[in-house]
């Protein structure tokens, strides 16, 4: 079955290997240039030195901003290839794995060899997962290395950040989920192209649900509330903490929109929110309190673990469905 799996999927395997190699090359080449810039001092100041000394004056600010705008995900969208990779694998390897056999009738050839359907399916799935695990394991340090300069500035470790889904074990978890989704869609629909489309649609739906609703609630967020009339509030936030909400709450704990607060207390648009300012006095007179709802940065690996567990759980359920379909329902 190992030879068979390789022979049958070698074309897809080589295409994806080439894509991944190109991506690794891109990371290495651009990453080296990035590290040169990071340590390159202009007028005695480099981005690295500024961050190290926590020197955020105007010169350093400009240097850091220039560096970020050159190398962040926004200006290097190729980084996001890694986000597209899992659904592509699900569509082009997962979906056809069962569906193409059914579509072309070759299931009548392969399922009458001296190999049970269960072994046939599991061998393919296990080989695929092991191969991908090795590949993605190699990418984890590469991406952390690439993200190193940003990590010093905090951005990269931010759970809600743009780079988050390509970091750590998440790409692998998303890939496992996409493959299982493709497999199940193929076994259910028995047609390759519809299965590919359903895989893409289902993947986008689940990814959006996690990104918009799931991720911020993996663990209950920390809620910090203080009286802006009495204090300036906590000062220990890190750049990499994920702020979910920042604003005012009334005595009942309900959120007061920034717009409402402004129209009530700063009608001419002037804001002075230091302790004892008229703005804060006005806020105080309404009985409103300042609040920050946030996920601390040190939950990074806990969140990676939870999100991966959710995706793996979905994948296992989809694989179980596929096994049942292949063994019991199809033909």
């Amino acid at each position: 079955m190992i030879w068979m799996t390789w022979r049958q999927h070698r074309r897809e395997a080589l295409i994806f290997a080439a894509l991944l190699a190109a991506f690794a090359l891109y990371l290495i080449v651009l990453g080296r240039a990035m590290y040169v810039d990071f340590y390159h001092a202009i007028g005695g100041k480099s981005p690295a030195l500024c961050l190290q000394r926590q020197d955020y004056n105007e010169v350093c600010g400009n240097i850091i901003n220039a560096f970020i705008s050159k190398y962040s995900v926004n200006t290097q969208p190729a980084l996001l290839w890694f986000i597209i990779l899992p659904p592509l694998l699900g569509m082009f390897i997962g979906a056809p794995l069962v569906a193409r056999e059914l579509e072309t009738g070759t299931f009548r050839l392969i399922w009458t060899q001296s190999v049970t359907r269960l072994r046939w399916l599991l061998t393919k799935v296990i080989l695929l997962v092991v191969a991908l695990a090795l590949v993605f394991a190699a990418f984890i340090p590469l991406i952390f290395w690439w993200k190193g300069p940003f990590a010093m500035g905090g951005e990269s470790m931010m759970i809600g950040g743009q780079g988050y889904p390509i970091m750590g074990i998440l790409p692998f978890a998303y890939t496992i989920f996409a493959l299982a989704l493709g497999l199940a869609a193929g076994a259910l629909l028995r047609r390759t192209v519809p299965a590919m489309l359903v895989t893409l649609g289902g993947y986008i739906a689940v990814a959006l649900a996690i990104w918009n609703w799931g991720r911020q609630n993996w663990l209950p967020p920390v809620i910090t509330t203080w009286n802006p009339y009495a204090s300036n509030g906590p000062t220990n936030f890190k750049n990499s903490d994920w702020i979910l909400y920042q604003g005012y709450v009334n005595q009942a704990g309900q959120r007061v929109g920034i717009g409402d607060a402004f129209s009530a207390c700063a009608p001419n648009g002037q804001l002075d929110d230091h302790v004892g300012s008229t703005f804060n006095a006005c806020i105080q007179s309404h009985g409103w309190l300042s609040t920050v709802v946030w996920q601390p940065a040190d939950r990074f690996w806990a969140f990676q673990g939870i999100e991966s567990a959710v995706l793996t759980g979905l994948a296992v359920a989809l694989l179980a469905l596929t096994i049942w379909l292949v063994r019991q329902r199809i033909a």
């Binding site: 068979m4 072309t104 009548r108 050839l109 009458t112």
Partner: protein, 319 residues
């Protein structure tokens, strides 16, 4: 007969797709070591029966066993002993013929590379050509070589003759016959070409209207089926003892095709031998008559005939 001597056994086997029964109440036994023909019109359930036997379909009712193993649930033992070639003889189109042989070797413990290679060589099928580039007949031959290379004990072939030219047909049937003699291979092959099969097949299963109409040894079938010709009469007397498959009447004469249960003593009937083809056609005509039963008397009267697969089936069909 113990399990090892029974290549294929079905008991009340049935398969329903949605609301439509593709096969019903199918019960017969195939002894090992023979070539058995499965005949019937298109849509009679031949493919369904073969795919049930190959473990590609799960029975809705009843069971099917290959050397005592249920192919669908007890997969591996049955899978190792059967070879199957589907009607469209599917192959991986991107695989070269050599790749396909390698696949056969990788996936089957009893793989016989020598035989498979020799067979393809004899047919001058190049090993480095991709399966998708071969002609339909060549693809069928490769699929057969793969099934034979597996060294199965039971070979299930769905319309194997359809894509072969007459010469290749004869050659192919001879190979099957040799394999049954040399290796004790059992073969069940479906076809609607009866004349080709008569030379090599020892057993016959007639399938029509999703039911087994007759199953048995061909010599036995030929011996027990007779055409009776006599003065015009109501065939009821004969039908009380024997199975009347087909009855036709002229003004003065009645002709019956019957399956005799023992001796026929009535001297007013003149007995004639019948060809296998006529027997098959009579059974197919009978089942067609069942399908239009209630549309009034036809010249082929059906008289509560029971069939070899069991009396219960005849009763149900008569309802």
């Amino acid at each position: 007969m113990n399990e090892q001597n029974i290549a294929l056994e079905t008991a009340s086997l049935g398969k329903r797709f949605g609301r439509k029964w593709a096969l019903r109440d199918c019960s017969f036994t195939l002894p090992a070591g023979y070539v058995t023909a499965l005949v019937g019109p298109n849509g009679a359930g031949k493919t369904t029966l073969l795919q049930l036997a190959a473990g590609l379909l799960r029975p809705t009712t009843g069971e099917v066993r290959i050397f005592g193993h249920a192919p669908y649930t007890n997969q591996l033992e049955a899978l190792q002993r059967l070879g199957f070639v589907a009607q469209d003889h599917p192959l991986y189109r991107g695989f070269s013929v050599a790749d396909l042989l390698k696949m056969g070797r990788a996936l089957n413990p009893h793989w016989d590379q020598q035989t498979a290679l020799a067979r393809l060589e004899k047919l001058r099928i190049p090993l480095d050509t991709r399966a998708g580039k071969l002609s339909g007949g060549q693809q069928a031959q490769v699929a057969l070589a793969l099934a034979l290379g597996k060294r199965p004990d039971l070979l299930l072939l769905d319309e194997p003759l359809a894509s072969l030219d007459p010469l290749a047909r004869r050659d192919f049937l001879r190979i099957l016959l040799d394999a049954t003699i040399e290796q004790g291979l059992s073969v069940l092959l479906s076809s609607h070409i009866i004349s080709d099969l008569e030379r090599v097949c020892e057993h016959l299963v007639i399938l029509s209207a999703s039911r087994v109409q007759l199953a048995g040894e061909i010599d036995e079938i030929l011996r027990t089926h007779k055409r009776l010709v006599g003065p015009r009469t109501d065939p009821g007397a004969v039908a009380s003892l024997h199975n009347v498959i087909e009855a036709s009447h002229t003004e003065r004469q009645t002709t019956l095709l019957v399956r005799l249960n023992g001796q026929l003593f009535d001297p007013s009937w003149q007995q004639q031998d019948v060809s296998l083809e006529d027997i098959v056609l009579a059974y197919l005509g009978q089942s067609r008559g069942e399908q239009v039963a209630g549309e009034g008397q036809s010249s082929n009267e059906r008289i509560g005939a029971t069939v070899a697969s069991g009396g219960a089936e005849g009763e149900e069909a008569a309802r």
